[in-house]
Symmetry: C2
Subunit: 343 residues, 2 copies
Amino acid sequence: MNLKELATKLGLSPTTVSRALNGYPEVNEETRTRVVAAAQRYNYAPNTRAIRLATGRALAVGHVLPLATRHEIVNPIFADFIAGAGETYSRQGYDMLLSVVNDEDESRTYRQLKSRGSVDGVIVHAPRMNDPRIAMLAEIGLPFVVHGRATGTTTPYSWLDVNNRRAFLRATEFLLDLGHRRIGFVNGLEFMDFAIRRRNGYLEALAARHIPPDATLMFSDEMTENAGYAAAQRMLALPDRPTAFLASSMISGMGVRRAVESAGLVLGRDISIIIHDDDLSYLPNGKEVPIFTATRSSVREAGRLTAEMLIDLINDTDPTPRERLLEADLIIGQSTGPVQKVS
Amino acid sequence: MNLKELATKLGLSPTTVSRALNGYPEVNEETRTRVVAAAQRYNYAPNTRAIRLATGRALAVGHVLPLATRHEIVNPIFADFIAGAGETYSRQGYDMLLSVVNDEDESRTYRQLKSRGSVDGVIVHAPRMNDPRIAMLAEIGLPFVVHGRATGTTTPYSWLDVNNRRAFLRATEFLLDLGHRRIGFVNGLEFMDFAIRRRNGYLEALAARHIPPDATLMFSDEMTENAGYAAAQRMLALPDRPTAFLASSMISGMGVRRAVESAGLVLGRDISIIIHDDDLSYLPNGKEVPIFTATRSSVREAGRLTAEMLIDLINDTDPTPRERLLEADLIIGQSTGPVQKVS
DNA sequence: AATCACTTCCAAACCGCTTTGGATGCCAGA
DNA sequence: TCTGGCATCCAAAGCGGTTTGGAAGTGATT
């Protein structure tokens, strides 16, 4: 059932039927209800392919999921972010187009999305320092919003980010206020922008209390359980071992916890841990009472908001970049406590 | 730059240019190379919207990500599956369309994907027992492949699944061969089809050795770390505690391990654990040597293969359902060992 | 020389919708 | 009675490709 058929069935022109269904004013209210009823009755749904061609709009947003060809990591926060963004798209009648590409094909993919007219805009994931994608997208004129930021980028661009620096600053201060002086920092890979900012927050908090950073207490790697375990184990073996840890994710935090417990230490008493909690639904941080003290910021919510920003950007004639900085919550769980006196 | 412009620039008709680019035989080889060169030079890419309208094909595959409205779980294997499927789509020139919908809107979403012509087919995720989606999709005539199976479904349908029953049968036998007799089973939610099959495998192995199942050793819940921990802790507190565990995922297995270790027991010596490893890239089971003994089956590979099946189904005129059962590997790690003699 | 089969190209219809630029009829106001 | 404005509808031209049904030219065959 298409527009033309429906029109003839109603004894109207396709023009009028189209206008009736799309809420244009130049159509009698009575005919409009008739048309709407008939559309319902005949189960008519306009062909999106035709709409897209006629309007010149894709009514779709692209997400490019880059797969680092070397270590082939699929970002664990991706699913939750996508779920949030998807909620926005459903609500606004947009489609979400997902492209999975190797790093080296990423630039070509963006250009194709633009030149083939597959999408009206894209969301850029996992920005790095001096990320080349930003200048490229600005150049080809494809609207985009970055989830995160890219230190070192000079061209203005739209982004939504969590205040990672401030979150880790506060977490570090919290530990310092509990009397901890040696704080192990288990960070993610530091070519990622968020990891750099987190380190800066950590260092800033130490500096404010005139505590010199100790390279042996700073670690950076993939955020896996094993990596967290290995890092914490190494630090715990130091002669002057840390009394607290800061971990960049739930998963690496679980590794740190394992190292702590297998060293015969009790979490929250002998050793404190603060993690960053992306509030992933399959990695809940306890039910009512949080297990880990954490800086929390929902990635799913970030997905919702980033998608909204992009759609605004697409529909607004004003292309001024939009920026939004979310603050993480600091939630107190059972994994932190005052430093133990050395006996 | 569009077809018509390119054609005038070349002094040819749009027909010929289109044919030249699409490899039709009725065009001189010399002109074809000229056309291809010009397309390259002017950076011409055909407008997908127009192609889709003209051909009546969407050149896209839909993935509907249902969000259980109550517990709002985003499946952790989703990202890896999508990454695998995406590889296939890129290779075959298909787009991937992702819809995130509430459970109750799912049926409507499929119907819309069909009637609006947004996709040529869909992949069905996370099938349950007697899943109603299968009959519905068959009825509306939208090609689909199920990732997993749906026990109780009578209409034939295409699917790709891991042999979950056999995997857990083998895992249980492996533990039995090591002398274990009391094996705790930490399963996923048992309205999910894969969880039912896993339980069947477990029970079958026990039955083959004439070991009666013990309800206190069987647990079913979300596959989170905390749930795994809680289940294992409870079982370990039993007067006749288990000497081995079977866990349905890496994450719940980590919870089981924590319970074991915090009970002061040594993994692989006092207690054995076998998990099911979906080979998610952000949850690696060790590097060279696997940490956990596991039944392993790559979800990413499953994504690749499922997508291939669907594209075959779409392009083949023969609509006979295709079926494919993958076998999981049993890989031996450090988490299993012979049962300890009760001293 | 006429016929035929190929090769190579093109004009035009078509996919299903939106949107522009009227056309028609009716009523109020001059 | 005529004019202008308004409400309501429609024909037709698009969007940018694909595809059908020739047409023109060439060379071989009769």
